[in-house]
Symmetry: C2
Subunit: 276 residues, 2 copies
């Protein structure tokens, strides 16, 4: 497996296809995600940043057929309750996607351990994936891992951000990649704006994606699926407002899915075919 990757990478600077990578990765969650991406032909993650349970569930049911991941900010939901989580999990089963709580854990190990396992949200109990900033040092990963690894959860490290003037650059990004490599049993990939490593175990996910470039009034900057997947070699596009603010969210998701998948097909090589 790894040999294949090296050959492909050297020959073409292109990625492997999802079904190939699904065989290489060790973490069961990465495997599951890549299989979903392969079978549903999508690299689209939907960021469902609305503030009522019913809104979230309706949107997710519409958009679900087109996505590999639904990303939540559970702490912006006004009427949060445990039934909501049950309903979200049912939708994840129905449409075959993973749930990613975008908590951006960013405290010392002892604190994130409690934040991840306890409180009102008990994120560890329902989110397949969560994420963390690397700024506290690797204690943050260790603290989350103590809770998440026994449940086969996975963590993304935020190595780069999409917002203006962010400080996740240069040495900070390099240190984050190193931190991930050292805890690759739990860190399954990155939040980033471009591919950071050719190691096929790590999944690269990029927020701030719209069908045309631009920004918002609070410093968010947008890139297109073709730039993110094609030019920058990321694996998954994360789309929020481009879908949930659309008149027809389901159709918008379908457009993002197709744009993302087309970019992937161009950017990757099916080794089993090209070698025969």
């Amino acid at each position: 497996g790894v040999k294949l990757t090296e050959q492909v990478s050297k020959k073409s600077k292109k990625s492997l296809r999802y079904h190939e990578r699904a065989e290489i990765v060790a973490h069961p969650l990465s495997k599951q995600l890549l299989k979903i991406m392969d079978s549903k032909q999508t690299n689209l993650a939907f960021s469902v940043d609305v503030t009522k349970c019913q809104q979230v569930l309706e949107l997710v049911d519409k958009v679900g057929p087109h996505v590999c991941i639904v990303k939540t900010h559970v702490d912006i939901i006004e009427d949060f309750n445990d039934d909501f989580i049950t309903a979200l999990q049912k939708l994840a089963d129905k449409h075959n996607f993973l749930i990613f709580e975008d908590r951006k854990f960013a405290d010392i190990g002892n604190t994130v351990k409690h934040q991840y396992s306890s409180g009102v949200y008990k994120i560890n109990q329902w989110a397949h994936i969560t994420n963390a900033h690397s700024v506290p040092g690797d204690g943050v990963v260790q603290g989350l891992k103590d809770v998440g690894l026994p449940k086969n959860r996975g963590c993304l490290l935020i190595a780069e951000m999409s917002s203006t003037g962010n400080l996740a650059t240069g040495e900070y990004t390099k240190a984050t990649v190193k931190m991930a490599e050292e805890q690759a049993d739990f860190v399954i990939g990155f939040i980033c704006t471009s591919r950071l490593t050719d190691d096929p175990r790590f999944l690269h996910m990029t927020p701030g994606v719209q069908l045309s470039a631009g920004g918002d009034s609070l410093g968010q900057q947008y890139l297109t699926p073709n730039i993110v997947i094609g030019d920058r070699g990321s694996d998954i596009i994360i789309v929020g407002r481009g879908i949930y603010k659309a008149d027809d969210p389901s159709n918008a998701a379908k457009l993002f899915k197709e744009a993302g998948y087309e970019a992937y097909l161009k950017q990757s090589v099916d080794f089993t075919i090209t070698e025969q």
Copy 2:
């Protein structure tokens, strides 16, 4: 006011006394905090990292007389409810301290705006102070400010951390100080391990304080009140486990308060006295 500071600072590298600084600072919350510190003779913030409402309230009622700030992680409390907040606010009035929710906001402006104002916790409605990581760029401050400034809330930026291998160093720290200076109408100070600026508007608060140096198994590193306030010129010591894990939390808080205040008296100059 500012002239005084410059003179004192040049002469002695010492700080002004709290009552002097209370007259210089512009933000009403900084003024209020410095007056509390002056009248209660304390620079102790208590980090009440326990996981049941009743435990939190009992501890805070015991420790309240000795502290200027109670710092919460509301998202680790298992049985959180709105009555808890009401009870905590009553204790803040009874004992005259400010409430600081240590949320470590770390997302883009549009997201933190919702996280701060909405969800189950509605942090903006009850926490005088909250904090943010600078890594997303100044959109994070702008997003929080949109919600917090009209309510006279204040924000601390995390410029340094106390955990092993953390990335809040060097250029990252400098960029954070600059971000604070540019938004000083809302940013009232720093989470840091030592004084970062002689500008008396900014309050420096340092976590990871114990009566003797050491660490935990997840990378936290401890310093003493004398090192933090005396040698490193910080303003406020943040103590968690040193108090809530003590057999007698009230007495432990008293010891930290005395150690912190003694260090402050040595490290500061009462300008009105020394000049006469």
